[in-house]
Structure formats: structure tokens, C-alpha cells
Amino acid sequence: MDEPTRRNVVTRRTCLASLAALAASAWIPAARADYPDSPIRIIIAFPAGAGEAEARIVAKTLGAKLGQPVIVEAHPGAGGNIAAAYVAKSRGDGYTLLLGVSTFFETNPMIYRDIGYKPADLQPVSIISEQPFLLIVNASLPVHSLQELIAYARARPGKVTNATAGPGSPLDLIGKEFMVRAGVQIINVPYKGGGEDAMAVLGGFCDMLFGGVADVMAGIQSGKMRPICVTGSRRLPHFPDLPTIAEAGLQGYDFSVWNCLSAPASTPAPVVEKLHAAIVQTMASPEVQAGFDRIGFFPVSGTGAELSRRIATETEVWRGVLKKAGVAPQ
């Protein structure tokens, strides 16, 4: 088992490290010569449990590649701002990383009046996953394709219900954008996430839902939910026959949420590079591929600069969506 060795290492090393720190507290250089030489923390923004699967899968392999244990620590709250602010304010030594969701960088600054940190304080190290969503309808609806859904909704304005995870959440915005582009009037019914929205569709209380693969897989297999299409630009390996929305008729509609690993902006370049190299290897490894496959994510990697550009472009897209949806900063 890994656990006991890790603990012993941590106890001994951290005691020694504390003593050393006592002796030379002000002069610890930000980049130690042999990074990494103590455990690294990945800070996640979901309460312990729900969103951890992805982090843990990555942590396990990344730790193996870097030669140091990687621990997952949860700082939930404020739509991710608490975790992001925590990392933004930490020491830039490469031992504290953020598992950032695209919404933190792209939509949160527009939804929250004060996110608690300056976006410039974080630098993306690499994208690690993309998560497209499935457009699902309750199986009892006589709808088998996107065009049928749009026709069905057009025939019943204000009657079709869409289960979402709350206003301002990416799923809600995706739904609103869909309505605008397809020209239908659908009612958004917010739920508290955590599968409650999927439950609503299962039970027949709501007609449709945009959901992540993990949330809806069981429902699809039970026959109570029917997938119509995928919101991203790629088809899902689990459902090779399922078209993307763009293919099915709504041109230019391509939304998915991505996750990345970010570090404080003050982290020195050599550390970032080493980290980045390890991440690229991790995301390409078979364990991570298999693990992500099960939870419905696509493992990817890229440079920080690429990601920054992507953030900039996508932010503009979301800005437009938010304005049309009429969501104001809180």
C-alpha cells in the first residue's frame, strides 16, 4: 500500500522541514534546486466527494511521474472563487496548484462582483480535460433527434421544461444559448446540482436536461433517458452514433467545459516547465485515459499560453451569452 510510506515520509520530512524553516525562515528561495522535494497539493473547488474523481485520477499518476505524493485538498465555496483565491494568494513555489474549471476564469469574473483575487495572479499550466455535455430528454417524449426536439418545443412555447443546475452555471447558460439559437421558448427549472436535475428528468418532472456523462449514464441505460446529441465539437466514445449539435442542425454551437491545472503567477518558469512536462505525460498515460473514460471526460494537455488565448476567446463568447441571458453581476 502506498499510504503508510507516504505518511512516514511526510512526518519525517515535514518535521525536518519545519526545523529548517525555523532556522532560516526568511530566506527560503522560491524555487528549490530539486523540485519537487515534498508533497504537492492540488486544490479543488468542490466539496469533498462530488468532483474529486477527476482530481484523484490525475493526482495518482502525476505523483508517480513527479516522484512525490500529490494530495487533493478541497476548498469549496463561492462557485470556485474560494479555491481560486486561495491558490492565487499562496506562495509561488509549485507546491500548491489549482484544479481550475473554465467557468472560474471565463464566467465567474462576470457573474460575481468580487471574486476575491486578481485573475492575473494565476497562470494556467496546462489544460487537462474537456467535458462536453449530452442533451437528454425524458424517454417518454416523442422526440428522437434534435430537429424533432426543436419542432416539439416550437409547438409548445413555454411548456417544455429544462432542468438546470442554477442560474449562471455553465449548464444553465448552455441551455439559454440553445434556446436563443433554436428559437424556442423553454422554461429553465433550477435544481441544486448533484444529480438532482438528472433525477427530475428521470422522474418525469422535467422534459430535458444538459448533463455530464457520469450523471446521466445510468439513466440512459435504464431506458428512462434518451440522449439526443452532444454539445461539444467531438462525438463521445461512449455513443459513437450520437451526433454533435452542430452536425444535427445548430451550426456553430460548440460548448464544453474544460479543466486545467493552474499555479500562482509568481511560480518561476523552470518549475512550471517541469510541472508541465509531467502533466503532459500524465494525461497521455493509459491509466488516466481509462479513468477519464469512465467519468466521461476527455484527457488533453497543452501549454499555458495556448490556454490563456483560449480563455480570452471563450470569455468573449460567454460575455455575449450572459448579456443575452440577462445575468447581472452579484
Binding site: M1, D2, E3, P47, A48, G49, A50, E52, A53, R56, I57, K60, E73, A74, H75, P76, G77, A78, G79, N81, I82, I111, Y112, D114, G116, G158, K159, T161, G166, P167, G168, I187, V189, P190, Y191, K192, G194, G195, E196, A198, M199, L202, G203, G204, F205, C206, A214, D215, M217, A218, G219, Q221, S222, A290, G291, R294, I295, V327, Q330
Partner: protein, 519 residues
């Protein structure tokens, strides 16, 4: 049905395999110990031990995790009964009658009843899981927002009037709890309410902080320098450590009812254990022939909530395993663990991974037996703890509370919430307010509001939906009845009071109010 029995037999074979049994035992013991620590619930425990499961085969892994879950429920009752410290919010209601029993020197009895109720309920829960899974799931689906609203409304009314003594004060506290529940982000519009500029409050007050502040810290503030030892029983007789036959008989039907309540709520996702225990308690009080004894050490007040919490724990697994929909955060974590292991929860879980499912079900029973064997002898030891002078006990308990609350979300802000609610709780207790209904209001409030608005959203603004749907109509009718009865009683009491001298006046109630009474 006979197929289920065969599968169950097979499951026992799996569960009793040496390797699996060992991990089950480990999970159960760890869960039990963690459950005793205030603030640390199954969520923290499972999340800390999750990495262990990566290198394990899925079957023992899930058995261990499940063991931690229900093991921690056993532990939570201990602190609630002996120290008025709800180590985990669902056990707050057990404090109400458990702690007075301890003060009377019967802490051991209370613990014994709690253990027995838990075991009984867990066993029933397992039986339900085996034979009634599809039924429970289909019932769960019948509960839409309108039904949930009506049930929660009834729960609020029942709970708000459940405290012994002045009804008005109980109602006020329930309302206060509702108000605290409003703090946070409104789900329908995204507006932040009552957050006073603290971003952390955007997700609402943390329930663990609320419970520990109101029940724990407030109590310390009340008792410091005034209490020498928690339990004055200088000579603990063996009789007091085990429940007597009479007490067992008293506790039997409450156990059964509590189990039923827990099973019902277990099937409904989104309802937590806290609501379940409160409603079980309130139900007992309402149908009891002697409601006044609740809050002063009624065995029923310990048996019913504990039974409810345990049967809910078991039944919680049903929607998780068969639909992949977690009923609450702990289930979400277990679900995540399953997925990391490569197991896809859903209807085919039972067929694709028969050894996992049936082994798990069997391990529930094995685990519960282990817990009983573990805990019953330990009752004596726990009770001895009470002899420790209060002046050593409360600083230590404070430490556990602080660290425990911190560990829930790695947040020192929440420790600050404990502080705030400790002060608020102490003030309220001094004003002779019962503190328990606050927790009830806090938990039910958001559900009542959300479901009300959601039901209206789905019915396109038609208010009649609440009485049109049959289940909802039933609960609304009961609620109306309850209000009518309360008003009727109050009027009758007022008339009676007018006729005689104002001696037996209801409102100011008792002459002796201590922190754990609900006067």
C-alpha cells in the same frame, strides 16, 4: 424473491471472505471512532480514506467505505447522548432526550437503546434493500416538488410545535432557523441573500458549524464554572448501563416507527438525515400519550431518531446503486469511488457485479453485528469518561469541535461560524428559547422554499397544483388539521385560564430551565 435469497446467500459468502471481512471491520472501526469526534462526519472520514481504495479490489473497497459510513453513525450518537454534543447534525435530536438521561445517571441505558435501535433499523433497512428496492425507487419518483413541499411544510409545523413548553417560543425558533437557512444564494435567481459581504456565506451557513455552535459552544458558555461533572452518578450500577426489559419494551414501537420514517426518507433524494431524525422525533412526540416527558429523558426520544437515521443510511444506498443518483454528499463520494474503480452504477450493477452488490448488502449486516459487539462493552468505558471533571472536558471538546469543523471544508471561516452561533445560542438559551427547532428550520427552510417555487414553475404558476396532486393534497390536509388543532388547544387553554386563576399559565412554562431543556 427466492432468487434474491440465493443471491443473498452468495453475498454472505463474499462478505465473510477473510479479506473482505477484514476491510469491512477496519472501515467499521474507523468510522465508529471518527463518528465520535465532533464535527467529523462520514464525509470527512471517507474522503480521507479514499486513497486507500485505489490499490484495492472494488469489493473490499466499497465494503470498507460503507462500513465507515454506518460506523460513524454509531459513533455520532455517543457524543450526543453523553455530552450534548451532536458530533454530526442528524444526532442533534438525540441530544434532546439522551443528554437528560445522562444527567439522571442513565447515560449507559440511553447508549444501549441507541445501539439496539440502530441495529434493529439497519437490519430492517437491509431487508428492505433486498426485497423492496424497486418499490422504494418507484415511490421516490412519485415525490415531485409539490409533494416534497407539502411534506416539508408538515415537518415544519410538527417540528415547530414539538418542543415542550411555550409553543410560541418553539415557533419563533423555527422561524429563526428558517431565516438562517435563507442565507446564501437563491437558487432560482442567483441573488445572494444576507451574506453581509462574506463570499463563503454565498453557499449558506455550514450545518455542522451551526449544530456544534448552538449545541456545543453555547452549552459550554452556559455550564462553565457551574458544572462539576457531567454525570453525578457516583456509583454506576450495572443496571444503569444496560436498558431494562421495561425500557426495551417502551422503545420497541418507536424503533419500528423510526425505521419506517428513515426508510421513507431514504428513498427520496435530497432529503438529508437531519430532517429524517427530526421528523421521527416529532412524530413520536405527537402520537405519544405523554408528550410532556419528551425533552426530559424519554427513551422513545432516543430510540426513534437513532432508528430513523440508521435505516435511512441503509436505504440511501438504493438510489445510488441502482440509478447512479446519489441521495446526498456521502453517497456522491461513494459513487465517485465506484466509478474510479471502473464500476458503473445503474440498473445493471446488480447483474454485472453481483458479487459487489450482494456482498455489500451482506456486509451491511455483518458490519452492524460487529458494531454492536464493539460498542456494547464499550458503553461502560464511555460512561466513565463522564467522571472526568468538566473543567478538563470542555476545553478538549472545544478543540475537537474547532478541528472537526475545520476539517469539513478546510475553512477557518466556518470555525468563526461556530463562534458566532455559540454566542447566539447562549443568548437564546438564557432567554429560555429551545435551540433545537433552529436546526430544523435551517434544514427544512431552503427545501420548502425551493420546492414551492419549483412546483409553481412546473405548473406554470398554478397554485392549485398542491391540492391537485393526491399525495401532496394529503399532506396539506394534515398540515391544516395540525394548525387547526394547535389553535383550538390554545383557545381552549385561554378560555380555561380566563375562568380560573392565572396559575397554570402555558407560556412561561417550566420553573427550571437548563440548557438542554426545551422550555
Amino acid at each position: 424473491m427466492s432468487q434474491s435469497l440465493i443471491d443473498l446467500w452468495y453475498g454472505f459468502g463474499v462478505a465473510l471472505e477473510w479479506h473482505n471481512l477484514a476491510w469491512s471491520f477496519f472501515g467499521v472501526v474507523v468510522g465508529n471512532l471518527i463518528g465520535v469526534l465532533p464535527g467529523m462526519g462520514p464525509l470527512s472520514a471517507i474522503s480521507m480514506l479514499l486513497p486507500l481504495t485505489y490499490t484495492m479490489h472494488p469489493v473490499p473497497a466499497i465494503m470498507m467505505l460503507a462500513g465507515i459510513f454506518y460506523g460513524s453513525q454509531y459513533g455520532g450518537a455517543i457524543g450526543a447522548i453523553l455530552l450534548n454534543l451532536p458530533c454530526h447534525p442528524p444526532h442533534a435530536v438525540t441530544c434532546l432526550d439522551g443528554y437528560p438521561l445522562t444527567r439522571q445517571g442513565k447515560g449507559g441505558t440511553a447508549l444501549g437503546i441507541a445501539m439496539i435501535s440502530s441495529f434493529f433499523a439497519a437490519s430492517c433497512g437491509i431487508v428492505l434493500m433486498i426485497f423492496a428496492s424497486p418499490l422504494l425507487v418507484s415511490i421516490a419518483f412519485k415525490f415531485g416538488p409539490a409533494e416534497l413541499f407539502s411534506i416539508m411544510l408538515l415537518g415544519l409545523l410538527a417540528g415547530g410545535t414539538m418542543s415542550r413548553g411555550p409553543v410560541l417560543k418553539g415557533v419563533a425558533m423555527t422561524l429563526f432557523g428558517l431565516l438562517i437557512g435563507v442565507v446564501g444564494t437563491d437558487i432560482n435567481t442567483g441573488t445572494m441573500r444576507f451574506t453581509f459581504g462574506f463570499p463563503k456565506l454565498g453557499d449558506g451557513v455550514e450545518i455542522v458549524a451551526l449544530a456544534l455552535g448552538l449545541f456545543g459552544v453555547a452549552d459550554f458558555l452556559r455550564n462553565v464554572n457551574r458544572l462539576q461533572v457531567v454525570s453525578r452518578a457516583t456509583h454506576v450500577r450495572l443496571r444503569d448501563m444496560r436498558p431494562s426489559w421495561k425500557e426495551l419494551k417502551q422503545a420497541f414501537f418507536p424503533m419500528v416507527r423510526g425505521t419506517a420514517v428513515g426508510a421513507l426518507f431514504g428513498g427520496m433524494p435530497g432529503t438529508g438525515s437531519t430532517i429524517t431524525t427530526f421528523i421521527a422525533y416529532a412524530l413520536e412526540q405527537k402520537i405519544s400519550r405523554n408528550p410532556k416527558k419528551f425533552g426530559q429523558g424519554a427513551i422513545e426520544g432516543v430510540a426513534a431518531p437513532e432508528a430513523a437515521s440508521h435505516s435511512k443510511t441503509q436505504v440511501d444506498f438504493i438510489p445510488t446503486m441502482s440509478l447512479g443518483i446519489p441521495g446526498d454528499a456521502v453517497m456522491a463520494l461513494i459513487l465517485g469511488a465506484l466509478m474510479i474503480q471502473g464500476i458503473q452504477p445503474g440498473p445493471q450493477l446488480i447483474t454485472d457485479h453481483a458479487d459487489l452488490f450482494w456482498g455489500l448488502v451482506a456486509s451491511f449486516w455483518v458490519g452492524n453485528i460487529l458494531l454492536m459487539l464493539l460498542n456494547v462493552p464499550l458503553i461502560g468505558i464511555w460512561v466513565k469518561f463522564l467522571r472526568v471533571p468538566y473543567r478538563y472536558l470542555y476545553p478538549s471538546a472545544l478543540l475537537f469541535i474547532a478541528v472537526g469543523v475545520y476539517s469539513t471544508n478546510n475553512s477557518l471561516f466556518e470555525v468563526g461560524e461556530v463562534l458566532a452561533f455559540g454566542v447566539i445560542g447562549a443568548i437564546l438559551l438564557a432567554l429560555a428559547f429551545p435551540v433545537a427547532p433552529i436546526l430544523l428550520g435551517f434544514v427544512l427552510g431552503p427545501m420548502v422554499e425551493d420546492n414551492f417555487r419549483r412546483a409553481l414553475l412546473l405548473s406554470r404558476g398554478d397554485m392549485a397544483v398542491f391540492v391537485q396532486r393526491p399525495i401532496s393534497a394529503v399532506f396539506i390536509a394534515i398540515s391544516v388539521l395540525l394548525i387547526a388543532l394547535q389553535v383550538g388547544f390554545a383557545i381552549r387553554a385561554a378560555i380555561r385560564r380566563r375562568k380560573s386563576k392565572p396559575k397554570a399559565f402555558r407560556v412561561t412554562g417550566s420553573t427550571q430551565t437548563t440548557s438542554h431543556d426545551n422550555a
